[in-house]
């Protein structure tokens, strides 16, 4: 096997591949997903109940609600728009505050307000909103809770917000999409256009072509994984260990991509192959979003051994001793995958060229 020939094929692919649909898909999907997670989890999926206000005259309530930090506040010009927002589910609760409400509370006069509750909002969300409002009214009335509250958190560490919990899944997506799609699509494309046969009548061997495509997949997979971490500003305290994990993950992904490229005959077959494997590839990430599902199930997925080290290093500052077993299993998976690529490649070679 000649390194210079592998690099020549790699150079050719680096020039031509970025125009292909699968290449664009592999690069843009993780970026778009990162953006979506950022936009959605910053608001709708933050887990904070949403409250809407419409008021006549002046009120300090909106400012006090904003300070609470556990409610999403929306303000409306009219009662009708507030009610429409409640009915659509945008708001859990809408509050209409009459003129002079603040003064009435301060002067301990009877005050009244109307609340519009979305029928599908959860009772706990309603309870949080009304507790938050109660707090605001107590402050507005100039009263106080005459105790000191000491907060104690049991157990180790704190759970991360959902947006942060998505990070390892995004990294997995970036690694697997590039690692799987790029070598597979470039190989299948060459097969379909019959340029693979043309390539192998040159001094380049079939094995060198597969190696070059895998190398391209590895580079892109590693770069996309690192880029996702950069975009999320999540290198943790051990970037060296994280890079090692990313590199191993990229090798596994590109070997898997090479296997798909060797086995599949058409790009449409590749698309369906990728579609069918979505849940198997991203299973560990999806399962981690639902803590009530037994987490041992995730260990049955090969990609768990990519997902978990990334999760542990980026979010729990894990060291090599914490993720050592995962990395050993990942190494075994890489060896197994490379062997399968080699064996299948040898078996399929006469049919391909």
């Amino acid at each position: 096997m000649s390194v210079s020939r592998i690099l020549s094929i790699l150079r050719k692919d680096l020039v031509h591949s970025p125009k292909s649909f699968h290449f664009i898909q592999a690069v843009f999907t993780p970026l778009v997903c990162t953006l979506m997670v950022y936009l959605l989890f910053g608001s709708v999926l933050s887990g904070k109940p949403s409250v809407g206000l419409v008021y006549e005259g002046e009120t300090e309530i909106s400012e006090l609600i904003r300070k609470t930090d556990f409610l999403r506040l929306f303000e409306y010009e009219s009662l009708d728009t507030l009610k429409t927002a409640v009915l659509s589910g945008k708001l859990d609760v809408g509050i209409a505050i009459p003129a002079g409400f603040d003064q009435d509370i301060r002067k301990e006069k009877p005050a009244q307000l109307r609340s519009y509750i979305w029928g599908q909002s959860l009772m706990k969300d309603r309870a949080v909103i009304f507790a938050g409002l109660f707090d605001v009214f107590v402050e507005l009335a100039g009263k106080e809770v005459r105790v000191d509250v000491k907060t104690i958190t049991l157990g180790n560490g704190e759970i991360k917000p959902l947006g942060e919990r998505f990070l390892p899944l995004l990294v997995l997506l970036a690694i697997m999409m590039s690692g799987l799609l790029i070598p597979a699509s470039t190989l299948v494309d060459e097969k379909q256009r019959q340029t693979l046969t043309a390539l192998t009548v040159t001094p380049a061997s079939f094995e060198e072509v597969v190696a070059a495509k895998s190398l391209l997949g590895f580079i892109m997979s590693f770069v996309m994984g690192a880029l996702t971490l950069i975009l999320n500003n999540s290198f943790g305290s051990k970037p060296g260990l994280l890079f090692l994990t990313l590199a191993m993950a990229a090798i596994f992904a590109s070997a898997f991509g090479a296997l798909a490229g060797v086995m599949l005959k058409s790009l449409i077959g590749l698309t369906n192959f990728g579609k069918s494997l979505i849940l198997i590839i991203y299973g560990p990430g999806i399962l981690s979003l639902f803590p009530k599902i037994p987490q041992w199930i995730a260990k049955l997925f090969p990609t768990y051994y990519i997902f978990n080290p990334v999760l542990e290093v980026t979010q729990n500052n894990a060291g090599i001793t914490d993720i050592g077993i995962d990395l050993i299993i990942l190494t075994i998976l890489i060896i197994a995958m490379t062997t399968i690529v080699f064996l299948v490649g040898r078996q399929k070679k006469p049919q391909i060229i």
Partner: protein, 352 residues
């Protein structure tokens, strides 16, 4: 139109489809996985907040009042029991309030109240839950605020019968399955065109109309059967079978017209896939309204798939009858027929 030729072409497409491991078997594995995911996900919604309390006696009236608002207060026998319950996740938080709380407050002291959280509480939610502690203490202090809150529920009150996320996902799964077949129909046509078998077919007695009919029936049939399979396996179809089957069929008919249009736009299989993704993403937007109500505004109604997701959502989760969903059916059928007419016209011109 030659019914025999249409039947033969459908048979040929199905045989080729199932002979191809990637095209024929993998999507079915995907369907099975969707069903597995459905059954793994929780089937109930935890609507209430359960708080543990140890220490001072809390008046029953306050416990009842809190329970009415969705906060269940559970009195524990010891601080250890409270801590254990919080750590095990039985309670979202625990409060340890001194026995002589009110006595100490009345003497001007500021007694200490412990708010205990488990490791799985998000920082923002901790602040929210702390307000319950403050609310309870404030009420115990006996200085009620003179505020009357008039409550009005808008829309059906789902308290006690909230829709679990896995059930919200069902119309989305069905929509996804149906939409994927748009790509399938477009590929069936473009593949024939690329291989040159389309010209070969058209020089036989088969007309363009028969060919497009065969492709449409294959796509609609596959989309419909797969969606019905998922709804049957998850037991959702039983909820409102006739309406759901009608909705799924009308939704599946979208596949034909849109598949033709995508096939018109695509020069080869890869451009078909690229265009399909654009169409899929657009048509998928109304699904967000089910999963995350309120995310989309009214403009989402211009997307045809809205009428399918809305129909299914209402039929599955709100027992909607024909009186509520007939408009969706009429609109879907009209859109289906228009898209089929436009799609087949465009495709005929392209392939002519």
């Amino acid at each position: 139109m030659d019914a025999g030729a249409v039947g033969t072409l459908i048979k040929k497409d199905l045989i080729l489809l199932f002979r191809n491991k990637a095209l024929g078997i993998m999507p079915h594995v995907f369907l099975v996985l969707l069903i597995v995911i459905y059954f793994i996900m929780p089937g109930t919604v935890n609507e209430k907040l359960k708080l543990a309390l140890y220490g001072t006696n809390i008046p029953q009236i306050l416990i009842d009042e809190m329970a009415e608002s969705g906060v269940e207060l559970v009195i524990t026998n010891s601080e250890e029991e409270l801590n254990r319950g919080v750590e095990d996740g039985d309670f979202i938080m625990g409060m340890t309030i001194p026995d002589d709380l009110l006595q100490r407050i009345s003497t001007g002291e500021r007694p200490e109240v412990k708010a205990v959280f488990g490791p799985s509480v998000l920082p923002a939610m901790k602040k929210a839950e702390l307000t319950f502690t403050e609310q309870i203490i404030f009420l115990l202090q006996g200085e009620p605020l003179n505020i009357r809150v008039e409550e009005k529920i808008l829309g059906p009150d789902m308290t006690g019968r909230q829709i679990p996320t896995r059930d919200r996902l069902i119309p989305i799964f069905a929509l996804f399955i149906i939409l994927m077949e748009i790509m399938g129909v477009a590929i069936l046509i473009v593949e024939e065109h690329e291989r040159g078998t389309l010209s070969a077919l058209l020089v036989t007695s088969m007309s363009m109309g028969s060919l497009l009919t065969a492709k449409a029936i294959t796509g609609i049939g596959l989309a419909f059967l797969q969606a019905v399979f998922v709804l049957t396996a998850t037991g959702i179809l039983i909820a409102n079978p006739l309406i759901l089957l009608t909705g799924l069929f009308l939704g599946s008919m979208l596949v034909a017209g849109l598949g033709f249009l995508v096939a018109t736009l695509g020069r080869d299989i890869m451009t078909v896939i690229a265009w399909s993704i654009v169409v899929l993403l657009t048509l998928f937007m109304p699904a967000f309204n089910i999963l995350l109500p309120g995310v989309m505004s009214d403009w989402v109604k211009i997307i045809p798939s809205y009428y399918l997701t809305d129909l299914m959502h209402r039929a599955v989760h709100f027992d909607a009858g024909w009186a509520e969903i007939w408009k969706n059916c009429v609109l879907l059928l009209t859109i289906d027929l228009c898209l089929m007419a436009v799609g087949s016209f465009a495709l005929r011109r392209r392939l002519a």
